[in-house]
């Protein structure tokens, strides 16, 4: 019974649950903001990388490489602890969102680029031959086809961003993990940590299953 009262202590769990739920909201807030900003930034970067002049293309490629290489925790600590020295002072929330978005946009850009490049050349030629402007070629012909291809890897990226929000606890952000560690300290019992782990699983397992389902459906859809 010692194991149960240590890790699965129901009264402790009940007591910490409101705190954990507040943490969950913060986690979802950071995650959703970063995912949306990362999607927009990534699409923008992907189109620049494919169609801008050589200088811009080179800069975008450098951005993508740097932010895919740097550890997120290092970036987050730089944003929160180093930027104030040059007068940029971001709240814990915006520090976390900034770091997550910078990295997510880099990954998303590569996903979109691969999706756009997977569209046959004939689709670009047929729409150009009709006199469609570059904008309509993208929005009417290429992107609707590319989206189908990129949904599984994009969902995967969303899962990664949501998981990485846990790093925000390092910059004193009261996210799910931070709330759990505080509740643990308060009650001198690790049950809140187990509770947080279960909440992460409830949030992310369906998304993981969904990606698996999409990938299966997609591979079946191709002859």
């Amino acid at each position: 019974m010692d194991l149960f009262s240590t890790f699965f202590n129901i009264p402790v769990l009940m007591q910490s649950l409101p705190q954990l739920m507040n943490g969950l909201l913060v986690t979802i807030g950071i995650g959703a903001t970063s995912i949306i900003a990362g999607l927009i930034g990534g699409l923008f970067l992907a189109v620049l990388r494919l169609y801008a002049g050589p200088v811009v293309t080179g800069l975008v490629r450098a951005y993508i490489d740097v932010f895919r290489s740097i550890p997120l925790l290092v970036l987050l600590i730089i944003v929160y602890y180093a930027l104030p020295f040059v007068g940029i002072r971001l709240s814990p929330f915006f520090s976390a969102v900034t770091a997550l978005t910078l990295v997510s946009a880099a990954y998303t850009a590569e996903i979109f680029r691969a999706g756009i490049e997977a569209i046959p050349k004939g689709q670009f030629e047929a729409s150009a031959a009709l006199g469609l402007s570059n904008r309509y070629i993208m929005t009417d012909v290429i992107l609707p086809q590319a989206i189908r291809i990129v949904i599984p890897p994009l969902t995967n990226n969303c899962i990664n961003v949501l998981k990485d929000t846990a790093l925000a606890s390092v910059v004193a952000m009261p996210d799910l993990l931070k709330q759990a560690t505080q509740a643990q300290a308060l009650s001198a019992n690790p049950t809140p940590l187990i509770g947080a782990a279960v909440i992460y699983l409830i949030l992310l397992l369906p998304m993981v299953r969904y990606v698996a389902h999409l990938e299966k459906r997609f591979s079946r859809g191709r002859s």
């Binding site: 047929a126 729409s127 150009a128 031959a129 009709l130 006199g131 469609l132 012909v141 086809q145 189908r148």
Partner: protein, 246 residues
């Protein structure tokens, strides 16, 4: 005399060291049906892909369509709106219904209303014999049907000229006829057509003028009778011998 609809002068195209087109000069008249024949790699597809600038060409080359120079820049979309193209591999938009495929460019480029575009699209699909399949997706159609939709899609822009890049080469033999029939009907309506093809029977029957190309140059041009019955050049004779006598 009327100015030609398409004027090509000194058209040169190279891929690295390889010269695909050696300074082509060619005028195409309003209403003319021009068939371009020749062996693979002779530059005939490259030639028509230059007319709407799907292939960029070398400096010093000049192409005008209805007086508008073909070159990168703001005028290019305008030229392309007047030049319809039908591809060997159809290139229909797979995520749109057949009807939407035909409606897209009139709405986006000609700023036509949905209702007008739909009416025009249904009329054109009727003309090419695909009206029953209007709400299907391209993948649900046979190759011959897809190519007829592609012709309707090009016609929806009411182009001044239609370019056909080997339109029957990717088709199963039993579907070639239905596409050629649509093209024959079109030729009778007075639309200007430039057709790259291996269908010698079609060229003989429908063309006003036949162009024989080899090695990136026009070797011989003339009426179908001149080219097919009395070719002057050795290379033309050899080619026709190879494709016709077996």
């Amino acid at each position: 005399m009327k100015a030609p609809l398409i004027k090509i002068s000194n058209l040169r195209k190279t891929y690295g060291q390889f010269v695909a087109l050696h300074g082509i000069d060619l005028d195409i008249a309003q209403g003319e049906v021009l068939c371009v024949v020749g062996p693979s790699g002779s530059g005939k597809s490259t030639l028509i892909r230059c007319i709407n600038h799907l292939e960029p060409f070398e400096a010093g080359s000049e192409i005008t369509v209805d007086g508008i120079p073909v070159r990168p820049g703001p005028d290019l979309d305008q030229v392309r709106a007047e030049v319809g193209m039908v591809f060997q591999s159809f290139n229909l938009f797979p995520h749109m219904t057949v009807l939407r495929n035909v409606m897209l460019a009139p709405i986006r480029v000609r700023k036509m209303s949905e209702a007008d575009a739909e009416k025009r699209a249904r009329d054109l699909l009727e003309r090419v014999g695909i009206s029953v399949q209007a709400d299907k997706y391209p993948a649900q159609l046979s190759g011959g049907q897809q190519q007829r939709v592609a012709i309707a899609r090009a016609l929806a822009m009411e182009p001044k000229v239609l370019l056909f890049d080997e339109p029957t080469s990717a088709l199963d033999p039993e579907m070639v006829g239905e596409v050629l029939d649509v093209m024959k009907k079109l030729a009778g309506t007075g639309v200007t057509m430039v057709v790259v093809t291996h269908e010698m029977g079609f060229a003989r029957q429908v063309a006003d003028r036949v162009l024989f190309m080899d090695g990136g140059a026009i070797i011989e041009a003339g009426t179908p009778t001149e080219i097919f019955d009395a070719p002057k050049e050795e290379r033309t004779r050899n080619f026709l011998h190879a494709v016709l006598d077996h």
